[in-house]
Symmetry: none
Subunit: 211 residues, 4 copies
DNA sequence: CATGAATGAGTATTCATTCAT
DNA sequence: CATGAATGAATACTCATTCAT
């Protein structure tokens, strides 16, 4: 009793993800996040239970809560972690793609991000969970679009069409690839993805100044 | 809630959605389904509760269960209802589109299905809920693709590329439109959808035998 | 999952104590309240658990929550119920005490309220629980003081001192009696209460206009 | 939290509050006790958590447990500390009040104890917590009454009524003052306290042998 | 059939306490 | 001794589902 849900007020406002101060804590946090990732993919965000996540991490429920005081906060922490990696991938492409054609860069993005999703299938789960803070959602989307735009802006020959729109297209075509990856008809879907990749290439070639 | 009980099955044969005999029952069922649709859209499938659905239908929980013995069965019933309407739309296009160019038909599909989703926003919720029977998922997907294929097969000039693949593309591009409809950046999204529509047109024109 | 505590929002705002619509419900509610009273007295408000209350009512936890959606709401409902009875007692004295001396009325109040507390020992527990809505606390206190004031105003000979102050004194002296009732040294405490009763009498006699 | 574990006792002898050997330990203990006092007042005994107390003392939970192996023991230690101070106050009055009238001494007690409560608002919290050992409760109460009795016995002119009873009255009137101090209607409460003080004076004057 | 009460397993979360470093 | 991570029983509360009236 004297449960939080009763009217007792914590003086320290919103609970936050705790940063571990010991080595053991750091390791544990990593294990917990991976366990969460696994369970979120398997069951979906809503159906995933904190208990199962703790079990998957071979940890006690108390330990889980020591670092992630609520389920949304756990999801958020994992989400941010993955988003950081995703942005790193794009940043890497930004560097390497200077002077490359938009069409080629587009395919690079397409391929690298497909690989990313395959490695971190929890990403789409996290990115679409219902209780994601709306502001966060828009911000991270903007960040991704900005990175893709940066890639396109560095393209040679330059793109004439609005770069933002192109970025949005890429992002959306990727969303399809993501979903398709979870569908059962693997064979056909692979062809579908290839096709989308091609449509993108065409569109980007068209958008490139043909001098 | 992904409650254990949800998936519990009586050994005495699967419970089935009851077909009401009297008129009153029919009305009640319709009201219940609409209420379910509303709540599913508002809260999502998992977070929607049978109690709230009953309340939204100004009915009692007992009544709701009289017709839909489990939550998945309720979702399934609604899903089928909407799917029927969706197929009707496509069938209508099949008829009207004989002799029309694939590109024009594609746009027609795009527009009509967009309108459908706007009218029945619960459709994507139902189509992506986690506990959808996998077999059902594949079957309905196949039905939709077959209908779109029928449209494309009737196109004049005929399509040379594999019709099934084209159908898949259309379906996926639509998925984007659906998601985009739920995003906050309305203005940009509208442009995005228009762009996808255009890409589709291009692809279909290209696929058409240019004699 | 999809627990209330997650970010899902109920459309209907604050949960409220539900009014039973069936006979069975009415009975159950009564039993639940008595059980709550018993457990609150035994364990105190904080240490009382909803589970134990349900058990004491030979009811399921679900049933308890059907009518009292939170522990504070349960306490509040019981509090109000008892407060109503308490006010009824005072109203009864108001009627009977017209023309009686303030000193006699004071003793009557003292005795009747002592009896009340003995019958409903949960009252002080409820009235002093930490999460009582402050506004409610002040309002009920004001109501009680107003009733006692009404009694004193009807006294013959009339009271010259400020009636409100006298009411506050009575209320406070009673608080002592209440606490004393829960102490172990019964014998001495009884004498103490008698003494307080006497002090009150003296004070009221003094306050009465001796023409 | 009235946790089961609170009352769990190791078979290997009751854990006891550790007496620190070094200066640093003494300081730490003092800080911990003050932090506990603060949190107990803010949240109440039940709602206060060991973690929050440790934090308030800018100490670690481990350190807190080093000195106070259980929450009740912590409360007990603080309780005793405050009780010692309270007795010191009364002892001081005993000395100074020889030959003074009971009425004057009574007012002195009233005032000094009011001040004490204002300085140590945790005292009533501790003195009324549910898990206070009953025996302790009675013993400390007896000690206080004895001290007050000593004061009254030294009064000039001597008291004829039973001194113990008078002591009890004083103690109880004080209880009111305490509670009143926590009520919101400050202004009125002040008048109330003054009034009780006066009633006490009257009663003590009356109890004094008027030769 | 309609109604709403009854049920209880399941869920997120808390917190006193222990223990390895 | 200090520190903070680990533990898990206990708690409030939810919700699908059943059933008596």
């Amino acid at each position: 009793m004297t449960n939080m849900r009763e009217s007792s007020q914590k003086s320290s406002g919103e609970p936050q993800t705790r940063v571990p101060k010991r080595r053991r804590g750091h390791d544990r946090v990593a294990v917990l996040l991976e366990a969460a990732a696994k369970v979120f993919v398997q069951k979906g965000y809503d159906a995933a239970t904190m208990t199962e996540i703790a079990a998957a991490a071979r940890s006690s429920i108390g330990s889980l809560y020591q670092f992630f005081p609520t389920k949304p906060l756990l999801a958020e922490a994992l989400h941010i972690e993955r988003l950081e990696r995703l942005k790193a991938v794009l940043r890497d492409i930004v560097e390497k793609s200077a002077g490359i054609s938009a069409a080629d860069s587009g395919e690079e993005i397409f391929d690298r991000l497909s690989a990313f999703i395959e490695t971190f299938p929890e990403y789409p789960v996290l990115a679409t969970r219902r209780d994601i803070p709306k502001e966060r959602k828009m911000r991270s989307r903007a960040e991704l679009k900005e990175l893709i735009s940066a890639i396109l802006r560095g393209a040679q020959p330059p793109i004439k069409d609005e770069v933002t729109l192109m970025s949005a297209i890429i992002l959306e075509l990727l969303r399809i690839a993501v979903v398709a990856a979870n569908e059962p008809e693997a064979a056909e879907d692979r062809r579908l993805v290839r096709e989308l990749r091609l449509m993108l290439r065409k569109r980007l070639e068209e958008a490139s100044t043909t001098a």
